[in-house]
């Protein structure tokens, strides 16, 4: 047997053993496991799955897992949002994932689907353990009274609260338009009214540790964008920028309210060298700020931006705004629609700031089912007074 044949034989044998192992493990449910506490307000009542694919890659194996869960609200209150925690034993504690379903309105006894699509790459020689390689656990459930259930290890209770408040704001905004017969404005709002509009997509990388300075870092002033009625106002900021990397952004904020602030989520907008603005997201920082006091919010690490095609994006300008504020009593502030409208004259940027998950969902319904479909959906998800 020549060397090439031996190698082919060994690879074939390894693959066969691996596939046999994968099939055996799949039968025993060892790849993926779901855990819902016994007192959970949602229960797993069924799931459908696409065939799991196992692909060798070098000395590793790539597993593609696709599951569509059917969950039932077995509690007594409507569910408005839910977070599932996804943990792979090979990456614990360095990495994990989550699947969030915001803007729900699931009444007691109703069922709803949650899809979990993931890919796990692990060394073929990695140790086998008794527990499942990927564990999906209920992390947080938000009810219509804004109370929550679950261990909330990922701190998504606050995130679900913000999504729910945005959803209620946008439902009211659209319902008012319908009630007032502002159909052209509604069409413009939900069709986006701007020709060829599509969400501006970014590629992101989070980097850690000391970086090799391949490009010269330059200080960049961060421009504050203010919402008039925000209880916290950004004053000034700075960051180090090198090409498509932003390092150590820092912004000084002022609490203009009479309440003690517990945390602030700062939104970031990146302008590229073509003058296009991209909403890069919002980062929540736990920061205690007394009434009429200032404080500095800074982030460690490096963020690298690219276009969705992977081409590096040259950063020309950085802007920041207060996305939401949580006070020490647990209440939350989010910008109103009029706050957003008055913050910027750029219609595309205004649209991106205003597009909440709920507006995105309702826009899909409006495009598919028209005004009648939107009315029906708004009626379904509106809480009775």
């Amino acid at each position: 047997m020549c060397m090439a044949n031996k190698l082919f034989f060994i690879r074939g044998l390894s693959l066969a053993l691996l596939l046999a192992n994968a099939a055996s493990a799949a039968e025993n449910g060892k790849w993926l496991d779901f855990q819902f506490p016994h007192d959970s307000p949602v229960l797993l009542v069924g799931f459908s799955e696409s065939p799991m694919t196992v692909t060798p890659r070098g000395s590793s194996v790539v597993l593609d897992l696709h599951k569509s869960l059917t969950l039932r609200n077995v509690g007594t209150k409507p569910i408005c949002g839910l977070t599932l925690r996804v943990e792979a034993q090979d990456l614990t504690p360095y990495g994990k994932g989550s699947v969030i379903k915001p803007s729900l309105f699931v009444l007691p006894g109703e069922e709803f689907p949650v899809k979990v699509d993931m890919r796990l790459m692990r060394p073929i020689a990695a140790a086998k353990t008794e527990s499942a390689m990927v564990q999906v656990t209920l992390d947080c459930v938000l009810f219509s009274d804004l109370k929550a259930y679950g261990p909330d290890k990922l701190n998504t209770h606050r995130t679900l609260l913000v999504y729910e408040l945005e959803a209620r704001r946008d439902r009211q905004y659209l319902a008012r338009m319908l009630d007032n017969g502002q159909l052209p404005e509604l069409r413009e709002e939900l069709n986006f009214g701007i020709q060829d509009y599509g969400p501006r997509q970014l590629g992101l990388e989070l980097l850690r540790g000391p970086r090799t300075a391949t490009l010269r870092e330059q200080p960049l002033t961060v421009s504050p964008m203010t919402f008039p009625k925000a209880p916290v106002q950004p004053l000034r900021g700075a960051a180090q920028v090198a090409g498509n990397e932003v390092r150590a952004p820092r912004v000084e904020v002022l609490n203009t309210s009479k309440m003690r602030v517990a945390s602030v989520a700062m939104g970031w907008i990146v302008r590229d060298d073509n003058g296009e603005d991209f909403v890069a997201g919002a980062v929540t920082s736990p920061v205690a700020i007394g009434p009429v006091q200032t404080s500095a919010i800074s982030e460690s690490g490096t963020l690298r931006f690219s276009r969705s095609s992977g081409q590096p994006m040259v950063i020309d300008r950085l802007m920041t705004f207060v996305n939401d504020v949580q006070f020490s009593d647990g209440t939350l502030w989010i910008p109103s629609r009029s706050d957003i409208d008055s913050a910027t004259q750029d219609p595309v940027l205004r649209r991106e700031l205003a597009t909440s998950p709920e507006e995105q969902r309702l826009a899909t319904i409006y495009r598919r089912d028209g005004t009648a479909g939107l009315k029906k959906e708004l009626k379904r998800v509106t809480l009775p007074n």
Binding site: G58, K96, V99, F112, Y163, P199, R304
Partner: protein, 203 residues
């Protein structure tokens, strides 16, 4: 033994040297004493033998005379030996260098081939895992450096120690950051019409 039955010439030759067996020597000696012809032949043989011995001695003396200048000869021989040894060393060095060169070229070629094959076939994650294992083996564990979370058109990936977890999303998903250590994708699920938000966290 009478004259009509003379011993054979080789018997007489051996008798002249005293090399015959005992009884044959007694009988041959009695014949030689009584036979003048055989006595004359034995005498001739013994005379020739003596002559040969004398000539042989003379030749040996001549050979020693030829090497009478021993010191000169020793010098020549040592010189020749040194030349031979030096020449052998020269040849040996030349051969060794050539062998070393050949082996070095072979080793470099095989190493380059190995690395080319490794880089072409083995994923980056495996290399990172091997590097991490080596660092761990020599006690040089360091905090994680480099990319910890990355978005791609079809998912967000976190990597560590040779393993990677990707939460997949459709290409239409909008990517943003949600914390200093997490990246988020948001999309409307075509089947259910619901919004799904996936997060991937790194440390």
């Amino acid at each position: 033994m009478n004259t009509a039955s003379h011993p054979a010439p080789e018997i007489l030759s051996l008798f002249s040297c005293g090399d015959l067996p005992f009884f044959l020597r007694l009988r041959t000696g009695r014949h030689v004493r009584e036979c003048a012809v055989c006595e004359q032949q034995v005498t001739a043989l013994r005379s020739a033998k003596s002559e040969l011995r004398r000539e042989a001695s003379a030749q040996i003396l001549t050979g020693f005379e030829a090497i009478a200048d021993w010191h000169s000869l020793e010098g020549d021989m040592l010189g020749n030996i040194r030349v031979g040894v030096a020449a052998s060393r020269c040849i040996e060095t030349v051969g060794r260098s050539r062998k070393l060169g050949t082996r070095l070229v072979w080793a470099v070629s095989m190493t380059a081939l190995f690395f080319a094959g490794w880089m072409a076939r083995v994923p980056t994650e495996d290399n990172q895992r091997i590097a991490a294992a080596l660092r761990h083996a020599v006690g040089l564990d360091q905090p994680l450096i480099g990319t910890i979370v990355r978005s791609t058109p079809d998912g967000i990936t976190v990597r560590s120690q040779g393993s990677a977890l990707t939460i997949l999303h459709p290409e239409s998903a909008v990517i943003s950051m949600s914390s200093p250590s997490s990246v988020t994708a948001r999309y409307v699920d075509d089947d259910s019409g619901q919004v799904t938000i996936t997060n991937v966290y790194g440390q």
